[in-house]
């Protein structure tokens, strides 16, 4: 097997030694940025930031952005994982950025609604799904409704019900 692949050389470097590129077309909305933070907190660092030999970011700008967050920084003492790619010119580097961003699918509605249904079956509350997937209540409810779960069955707050006296 050819081991001459960037992923073989993952290194841990100070986040401040990296610099963003000036062309990144990818915009991440605030809820997805929060989701990224939750993802690193829950699942850990699973993907390195891709850089060129000049320490310029090719892919992973938002992972790098979020690594400034104190909770994230604390996980690794401020270090971030990087792999280095060696584009032969700036066009190839820009293409690499676009390919990293675009070469992914979208989630089918029915499959998403089945997954949400299975989470509800597993006893996760609507609130928990909302928080851990950064979904609004509208999204959880529409997805669950699509799977045939009435709204009244979805809204089960995880806390105890209120006490009462006579």
């Amino acid at each position: 097997m050819n081991k001459d692949q960037p992923i073989n050389g993952v290194e841990w470097v100070q986040r401040d030694s990296l610099k963003p590129n000036n062309y990144n077309p990818n915009r991440v909305a605030p809820p997805e940025l929060k989701l990224l933070k939750i993802s690193i907190l829950e699942d850990g660092w699973t993907q390195p930031i891709v850089i060129n030999p000049d320490n310029e970011i090719v892919d992973g700008f938002h992972r790098w952005t979020i690594s400034a967050d104190p909770q994230i920084a604390q996980l690794t003492g401020g270090l971030v994982p990087v792999v280095t790619t060696r584009p032969k010119d700036s066009a190839q580097q820009k293409m690499a950025t676009i390919r990293h961003n675009r070469a992914r699918g979208t989630h089918g509605v029915l499959d998403m609604s089945k997954i949400v249904q299975s989470m509800i079956d597993d006893g996760l509350s609507q609130q928990e799904i909302m928080a851990r997937l950064q979904m609004e209540s509208e999204e959880v409810i529409r997805l669950a409704l699509r799977a045939g779960i009435p709204k009244t069955d979805i809204i089960q707050d995880s806390g105890f019900s209120q006490a009462w006296e006579v």
């Binding site: 915009r27 909305a29 605030p30 809820p31 509605v109 979904m135 609004e136 209540s137 509208e138 999204e139 409810i141 529409r142 997805l143 409704l145 699509r146 799977a147 045939g148 009435p150 709204k151 009244t152």
Partner: protein, 389 residues
């Protein structure tokens, strides 16, 4: 009411529009251009300026109803228009009641709501007019549009073109004379001097006058949205139809979009799924009946909105009960009433706050009769009240 047929005349649409506007100036105290920033209202404004200049009636009075979540490029254009010496633009920022089709939890929203200032997606412009003696909180745009110039002997001109919809065609085709002036209520006059223009005519005018226009069209031009959105009107983003194009804001105006997702509940969800079955009417889970589905969707509404939706549903059901003793069918339209649970599902999914879905009941009934090959009279005998007697 009679609907007259189109008859082409020996004049081009541009000359004809100028003639119509000139006649408006002679009939009314003032001509007020309802300006949205869209291309049709640009054409409307340009024609009106030309006529007003000729008649020595400059500056042209124009009103812009700013709906807050407006493309930044549209706002920049309206700003430039407001600085034109030929135009006296009244820039309104009123908390008008608008539909939020993103969410059943909160089916309406109010741009520039004073209590939601921290959620506004833009800063309010300095020249904004924020109140009007005839505006009351709770009014829709249609409500206020009718009140604004009532009993003033001013005519409001709108850049409405019949090319855009059948409903608009019917508005102008009802009268033979002065068919471009309508009088929906006592004391109110609207006019549509460019009703017969095509969208090509609109751009042609911008070109020959070398006029400024809304750069949003250039942005759409650069994307694959060209065909789809070049014809689109400038309208509030969270409504029934616009929800399908909500992703365009994310694509073209990401900074504003990041605020828009927090402006109303459901916006982020509709941005993601606005084009899918989660926001369309024809779907239900396979193992749930249409009847149960109706109940499930009703339960996603709350409070007064829920009551409104339930009352609309009950109205349809009562209509059915008056005509027949049959149960409401699941799927196929009842031949006499057009009703089915599937149809009711469409009503609740859309909210149907304007009653547009319910208006189509008779069409469903007619189609069903045709499919069955029977007349209404025969259907009344077979399915109507007292058939068992």
């Amino acid at each position: 009411m009679a609907i007259h047929k189109k008859k082409y005349i020996d004049a081009n649409v541009y000359e004809k529009a100028l003639e119509r506007i000139e006649s408006l100036y002679s009939k009314f105290d003032d001509v007020v251009v309802s300006f949205s920033g869209g291309k049709d209202s640009t054409a409307m404004l340009l024609c009106t300026i030309e006529v007003a200049a000729k008649l020595n009636r400059l500056p042209v009075t124009a009103v812009f109803y700013d709906e807050e979540a407006v493309h930044p490029t549209t706002i920049e254009y309206v700003q430039r228009v407001s600085e034109m010496p030929e135009v006296n633009l009244h820039w309104y920022c009123l908390p008008v009641k608008h539909r939020n089709a993103c969410s059943n939890e909160q089916p309406f929203w109010h741009p520039w709501h004073p209590e939601e200032k921290e959620k506004w997606v833009r800063e309010m412009p300095a020249q904004a007019i924020t109140e009007h003696p005839r505006f009351q909180f709770g009014m829709t745009m249609q409500d206020f549009g009718r009140e604004h110039y009532r009993y003033t002997n001013k005519v409001v001109v709108q850049g409405i073109r019949t090319e855009e919809s059948m409903r608009r065609y019917q508005v102008v085709a009802r009268k033979k004379e002065e068919n471009y002036i309508s009088k929906p209520d006592k004391g109110i006059y609207f006019a549509f001097p460019i009703y017969d223009w095509s969208s090509k005519d609109v751009w042609k005018l911008v070109q020959i006058k070398n006029a400024d226009y809304n750069r949003t069209y250039d942005i759409f031009n650069k994307t694959e949205l060209y065909e789809h959105f070049l014809s689109q009107r400038v309208c509030p983003p969270y409504g029934e139809e616009p929800v399908r194009g909500l992703w365009v804001y994310a694509e073209c105006f990401p900074e504003m979009w990041h605020k828009m997702i927090y402006r109303v509940p459901g916006a982020a969800t509709a941005g993601r799924y606005g084009n899918t079955e989660l926001y369309s009417q024809g779907y239900k889970p396979e193992h749930v009946s249409w009847r149960d589905h109706v109940q499930n969707v009703i339960n996603t509404y709350q409070g007064a909105d829920k009551a409104d939706v339930v009352s609309a549903i009950n109205q349809a059901i009562n209509l059915h009960k008056k005509k027949t003793d049959d149960r409401i069918p699941e799927d196929d339209a009842h031949p006499l009433t057009g009703l089915s649970w599937r149809f009711l599902s469409k009503m609740v999914t859309r909210g149907d706050f304007k009653g547009r879905v319910m208006q189509t009941l008779s069409t469903h009934s007619n189609n069903q009769l045709r499919k069955m090959g029977i007349t209404l009279e025969q259907a009344e005998k077979i399915y109507g009240k007292g058939k068992a007697l």
